[in-house]
Subunit: 330 residues, 2 copies
Amino acid sequence: MAEHAGVSQSTVSRALANSTSITEATRARVIKSAEALGYMVDTRAAQLRQGRTGTLAVVVICRAGEAASDINPFYFSLLGSVCAAASGMGYQTLVSFQATPDQLFGKYEESGQADGVIVIGTTANDAAWQYYRDLSLDGRAVVFWGSPFDELEWVRSDNYEGGLIATQRLIAAGYRNIVHLGAVDSPQRQFRERYEGYQAAMAAAGRPASLQEVDYEADRETQGRSAIAAMVERGDIFDGLFIACDSIALGAMDELRERGIAVPQQCGIVGFDGIRAGIHTSPPLTSIEPDFEVAGALLVATVLGEEGAQMAERRVPVRLLERGSVRSAE
Amino acid sequence: MAEHAGVSQSTVSRALANSTSITEATRARVIKSAEALGYMVDTRAAQLRQGRTGTLAVVVICRAGEAASDINPFYFSLLGSVCAAASGMGYQTLVSFQATPDQLFGKYEESGQADGVIVIGTTANDAAWQYYRDLSLDGRAVVFWGSPFDELEWVRSDNYEGGLIATQRLIAAGYRNIVHLGAVDSPQRQFRERYEGYQAAMAAAGRPASLQEVDYEADRETQGRSAIAAMVERGDIFDGLFIACDSIALGAMDELRERGIAVPQQCGIVGFDGIRAGIHTSPPLTSIEPDFEVAGALLVATVLGEEGAQMAERRVPVRLLERGSVRSAE
DNA sequence: CTGAAAGCGCTTACAG
DNA sequence: CTGAAAGCGCTTACAG
């Protein structure tokens, strides 16, 4: 390559790396040769020399035995946003799906494969979270979406705000007995925050908070179904539901339909996550959606240790996605 | 590292690479030192020397302006399956989402970043397909999911079979006027194949085939809605629909509901792709699902140029996912 | 502004 | 079975 352009290897490198200490004439010649020869810089070699990788690892934690098509679609949206944000910052993304303990691998930094790790996915996989927690405590650059551990670097939705506006919306529509379907003691820290937002809105309206716990060991749809079944069989009175996650809400809606409870007439529902499947239920599911673009950008900025990616700013704003599972405000 | 274990660099390398020409005693010592020092082989350097990358690039072609949450969930399932299959073969996966012409990048092989490229995603993005077609014609290892070009290396669902069994199911349930919603001349080659399966089943039942074309420039849900709107407004008689893709079917079901046409009583529906959102429509959407595990494995084997990954075997088997949008067989 | 040389961290003939 | 040396394809001080 250097030979073809009649310059040294150093000059080729500088020309292609846009170094300023190169005549435009020389650069042009080098570039023309590169095109003629179909030459491209070997990224591996360049990065080895530079001591960086230009790559970020994104690991999606799954439940054991969960196929790709069973993964909560919310995480796929997040994955896409992270890849886009990384690409915008000039980083490639090494993606892997990890479920069982033997699949766990996060030593990307140690093996020179990535400059940092972004962990997203189900918090129910204890082994995985312990593994990545240790990695982080070991001083590696790893950032989590919605970590169960406060000491780690995390980025989360503004869950409190989401719970607040979801509940306010239900109250404004005139529903009286609004129950929250979720969990306060699960590793899903985000669930507790959503509950607290719900609680605040209820308190402000002078109404008691009421929580129906879901069994987070079960799959999400079963969680929703079982929760509704339990409430109905107990004879609970409710006409509004703020549900901690859309996938759970989908199961809840199925159960309500089978039991003949009409949404939104007899029961209003607001979910959380804004997944697309909620567009096609009947009625479509009203939900709280985080700003995915901000989520991706924040995760990437945080793992890269950017200035400005301070703790206080790691909250992703949310908005109400008005669809059809809540009747109009009174 | 070598110093700590009291051996040469070569020995360290051989011990860690499980070379047979190493005493177990030496290997044990090296491994212990590695653990003590937290040493790991630098993958980049190893691969540079070995002339391979141990990595596969997976590019998801999107529509311009499409956010991650708008991507057809089918492709996410496929993406997950590909990553899992690659991982099973000892390969990492470099994932990117590409929509606009300036985002197009597939020179992973040339730049030493991957040993091959797997292209999946919407066929409606002409520029992208041309780009990857050129890359493939240039001799690069690139394999496509459902390519519009016959000369490329592709892996596809057994679309003909899928169309056949979907239509047979509708016929068996006693629906008389079964229409296909799809396209025969779109770049989606798979759509034509699905139509042909439909056609064969109709012919075998002695019934005429009837095609309602969708406008593949629009987004998928609009395609479904508009197709139904057109049929109803024209006064077409139909009581069965085999729809080329679930995302289109979801839109069609929304439109049917709004127009008061009951599924499956007045109209039976079978979609294609088996996306999860179809579980929560009412009724749930009966669909044809490819075996994702086989799809991922075949894509990976093909791009790696494995023996046995012959053309004839690049068809992914499909099965009927019985849900609720077709009434029981008579 | 450009070139010759060193070196990033490995693996692999080549000797012994 | 193990070591010394070369080399994978780059970038970057160091000279000029």
